[in-house]
Symmetry: C2
């Protein structure tokens, strides 16, 4: 074990064998770890090749959860591309070998052992192809496990493996395990207790993982003490609106703390209710973005760490997306990922002529092609002519497979026996439609999409086993106000042909402009029984996303009656939300694992009065 | 701040004012806390009343989550009963003021503030009634919050409040936060960092909460160092089969470690997917159970800690339940809790004549009375006469409201338009039944019960939006083999009249003995497409509950083909399980929050070969 001599000083101490020193974190003093000899040898090779500085590739890849063979190929392909681009160090995302989040798969020995074997195979394959001199940082899962006490599960680490010359040269285990919001890392991982500094071509490269940089203290503070020339950070950071700015601001603070640039590689692609948006970047200690990768696509971003003492150079940069474009692309990425990774080739959804189903259809067409979208019009006696026309118009615009299944015969069969009225009759119509969609799915293999939006889900204005059927719900985290703005944005985007060239605006204008209605009884419109959507969505944002109590809601100026009514609606709909399909998180707080509340609860905000 | 002088020595140091010393846990050294003066004064009062030793009441109560007013009344009632029984110290369950688990409600300021106010009101009410000399330990939620880092949520503590003379005399915050299985405490709580010893009538009473005693080190080890005369432990420990023995063995180890008896008060009642079974007890340092309360009912257990130096005395004892009786009573408790706490008065379920629906109906009749059970026979053209007879027989035996709704007219209406075959046609029948049950629920207000068992749920042999509809699924964690043994046990139990005197055995014998069939096509029986249930259930137990990999399953002697087939069925059904209703956990690992796996995953155990 040895301590680094001081800031930057340690870089001059070259040792002839691999020194891996480690200390268990029991107090604030943790010794840093320096791996030197192998990499120092590499310096010579690199310099002979005439490179200046250290070329780093940020490999922003899409991994398939649990598909170790596919992910191994993805990693190898990225390394080949990085090598071809002259890179010396490749940084892949957090848990790129496994996909993220693996949830309780982490607790399965068979999964951990197979992953470790896959990592070894990647290292060997790189050497076999003559890419052994690359230094590859790839996220994976540790094999070593620990348990908190008897009866608690054996938990492994969230690990980054450093591959070099056919072997796993070094590993780093994540120290800080997020266990809030959508994250359950404390459930399935045990924290690491060793810091990691690599020496590559004479430059000191610090390595931490994702949540480690969200902490003021911890490994970054210690790396700042011993000094590094660059910090590389594999991440699996899910998209939410506005998060790009949070990430870059945070990374800038850490870069400043270190006095060195920070290389942030993020995962991309959809996984269940999470969308990883990529957007990898390099930020300098002065807070300036030095290079950035686009969001929502796989990408190899190459950036050169200059020779010591030289100024930091700019690499490629991409402009930020607007909020509507970012959310829309997140929805497309989430749906495309769910469809492809679960082996579907097509989706089916009900087309009512309304804005929600129109937007979902447009998203689906952008995700997998309109020809793979089955749009089913299921008119009832209450359906208006304009609704049927709008549904057909939409299907034609996106090139969907359009079907018509009137529901009157089935509704009449039920009613002949059950004589339902009111809400029960309204729900019956929605449920007959659900049965039709699921029957099509069973017969033809389509993934059924639920078209409900976040506002409806919040207040329980959806019919469980009716319009709520499906495997995936693209608008689950998109409130009604946003549905309109996304529809307008998407129609406008058609004009600049970024999605499908020469296309029509996909969404009929009248679907956007007409008053929303479930059309479950004559002349019904949503605003009969709900506050105006712009007010309702602001109230829901405060109550749901910001978990504000009654007093805080009143202080924002909402009327007491409306607050009590809406909050009660939200609380009572929890049982329906629990059975709702997965859908992509795009806000700071989505329904689902992001917001875990009891179904059985008598707590009502008005009790706090 | 002061350190306890040593084992037992500190008890002789009486200070005239309340001394609350605390140390943040940053290393292995933590100073214990002694609260003396107020309680020492109480000694005098108690002794004047002629009490010998210290009478302790374990108040095993059922709390309603979030219903602060109701829970306050429950606590007050328990204190009145304890006082009437001559008790000096009352120990209520973990988070008795709020109910458990509160999940993300813990993150809401309004909820925490209202709970703190309710605790203050209880303390004041006790004093107003002349019960202020009681020392009452009641679980609640802390107000103080901490956050791990910027952007992470503000988390409070899981707290025990000690009420005395109209005030909160002292608080103890749980140190060890379980975050595995069904527990997410690290998500919503921050750990406490102070130990707690009370002095009551001259006796040193240690206080920790639930998970604290699952740790070898921690607060119990420190209390052992400073010495206590008794350790009191409020718990909210959910039922699972066999857990009683685990709890008592563990508590015995802690009592031995302390050289003092341990008083374990557990919550009772159903809360979503958890059933708290009560079964509170006192265990001596020699591992002997000194007193025990019955499971699955509210109970006040009174036990006397003798004068120092006197031998530990036995209090009341109850015999252990058999495994079948314990599981059956857990299912009844879970369902009764869900129905009452969610404001339902009745349940509806489909009666097929099969064993699953028969057992669910029997459980429902025991939980809420047969007259509140609506049993709906929904025969198809494939339903056998004996099935219809068995359904009617069952309904008569339990006194259910029996309805018949043939599904042929509705199925024909769908088929006239859709012409479904095979699986799509089978699922259509199940979904028409689901629509009928939900329509009855909407029209008449019943809670719909899903009747599927754990085996079906594991392999995906249920129709989503069909037989899977409902708000609660009593057999969700009961495998098919257990379904039969519970049915037999329940019929046998009818003979000794422990449930409803003079009743018939509720379940028709032929529902138990005939080969199981979904009756979705002519002559279908489950064993056509599944391994024998006894083999299947053993395989599922190994794969699901013990998370064994393929190699381990083969080592147990299961055939490779069967392993690969069943494991694939389980993995592919995850999306349906995600949308399945809540049901009571009764095994070591239930589907639901106990087993969190991605829906989208390409990991297959055979990849580990």
């Amino acid at each position: 074990m040895r301590r680094a001599a001081g800031r930057r000083g340690a870089a001059s101490v070259v040792v002839a064998s691999v020194v891996v020193a480690s200390v268990v974190v029991t107090s604030v003093v943790v010794t840093s770890v320096v791996v030197t000899s192998v990499v120092v040898t590499a310096v010579v090779v690199a310099r002979l090749a005439g490179m200046a500085g250290l070329r780093i590739a940020l490999a922003q890849v899409d991994t398939w959860l649990g598909d170790l063979a596919r992910n191994a190929t993805t990693v190898l392909d990225a390394c080949r591309a990085a090598h071809a681009a002259g890179a010396r160090l490749v940084v892949l995302p957090e848990m790129a070998m496994t996909g993220y989040p693996v949830e309780d798969l982490a607790l399965r020995h068979s999964f951990r052992a197979a992953t470790a074997a896959a990592v070894d195979r990647v290292a060997a394959a790189l050497a076999d192809e003559g890419l052994g001199e690359l230094v590859v940082v790839v996220g994976t899962i540790g094999e070593k496990t620990a348990r908190e006490h008897e009866g608690a599960p054996e938990r492994p680490t969230n690990r980054a493996a450093v591959l070099h010359r056919g072997e796993v040269l070094r590993t780093y285990d994540k120290h800080h395990l997020p266990n809030y919001g959508v994250f359950d890392e404390f459930r399935v991982f045990t924290p690491g207790d060793e810091d990691c500094v690599l020496e590559v071509d004479g430059r000191r490269v610090g390595l931490v993982i994702c949540e480690d940089i969200w902490q003021e203290g911890g490994p970054v503070a210690r790396l700042a003490e011993v000094g590094v020339d660059v910090l590389v950070v594999p991440n699996a950071s899910p998209f939410e609106e506005g998060k790009t700015d949070v990430r870059t601001a945070l990374a800038a603070r850490r870069a400043q703390q270190l006095g060195a640039p920070l290389v942030y590689t993020n995962l991309v692609g959809g996984q269940d209710d999470l969308v990883f948006d990529g957007g990898s970047f390099v930020v300098g200690p002065d807070g300036r973005i030095l290079a950035s990768a686009p969001q929502f696509v796989e990408h190899l971003l190459v950036w050169d760490l200059p020779e010591a003492g030289e100024p930091l150079a700019d690499g490629p940069q991409v402009p930020d997306l607007t909020p509507d474009e970012a959310v829309y692309r997140a929805l497309v990425t989430g749906l495309a990922g769910y469809v492809r990774k679960n082996g579907f080739r097509s989706v089916a959804l009900g087309l009512s002529g309304g804005i929600d189903s129109a937007l979902v259809a447009a998203i689906a067409a952008d995700a997998i092609g309109g020809e793979h979208v089955v749009g089913v019009s299921m008119p009832s006696v209450y359906s208006s002519e304009h609704s049927k026309d709008d549904a057909a118009d939409l299907a034609a615009r996106i090139g969907a497979d359009y079907r018509v299944q009137p529901i009157a015969p089935m509704v009449e069969a039920f009613q002949g026996q059950m004589h339902l009225e009111g809400l029960a009759e309204e729900n019956l119509q929605a449920r007959v439609r659900g049965v039709i969609l699921m029957a099509l799915s069973n017969a033809e293999g389509h993934l059924v999409l639920a078209t409900g939006n976040k506002t409806e889900l919040a207040v329980g204005y959806s019919t469980i086993y009716g319009d709520a059927v499906g495997g995936y719900a693209p608008l689950k985290d998109v409130d009604k106000s946003r549905v309109w703005s996304l529809a307008r944005w998407r129609n406008h985007a058609a004009l600049d042909a970024r999605f499908r060239p020469d296309e029509l605006a996909p969404i009929p204008e009248s679907s956007i402009t007409k008053p929303p209605s479930a059309e479950l009884r004559p002349g019904q419109v949503d605003q009969d029984s709900l506050p105006p959507y712009d007010v309702l969505d602001r109230l829901l944002d405060a109550y749901v996303e910001h978990a504000e109590g009654r007093d805080e809601l009143l202080a924002r100026g909402f009327e007491a009656d409306m607050v009590d009514r809406v909050v009660t609606l939200v609380d009572r709909a929890e049982w329906k939300r629990r059975q709702y399909p997965l859908g992509p998180k795009v806000t700071a707080l989505a329904f689902g694992r992001d917001r875990r509340l009891p179904v059985t609860t008598r707590w009502r905000e008005e009790m706090g009065r």
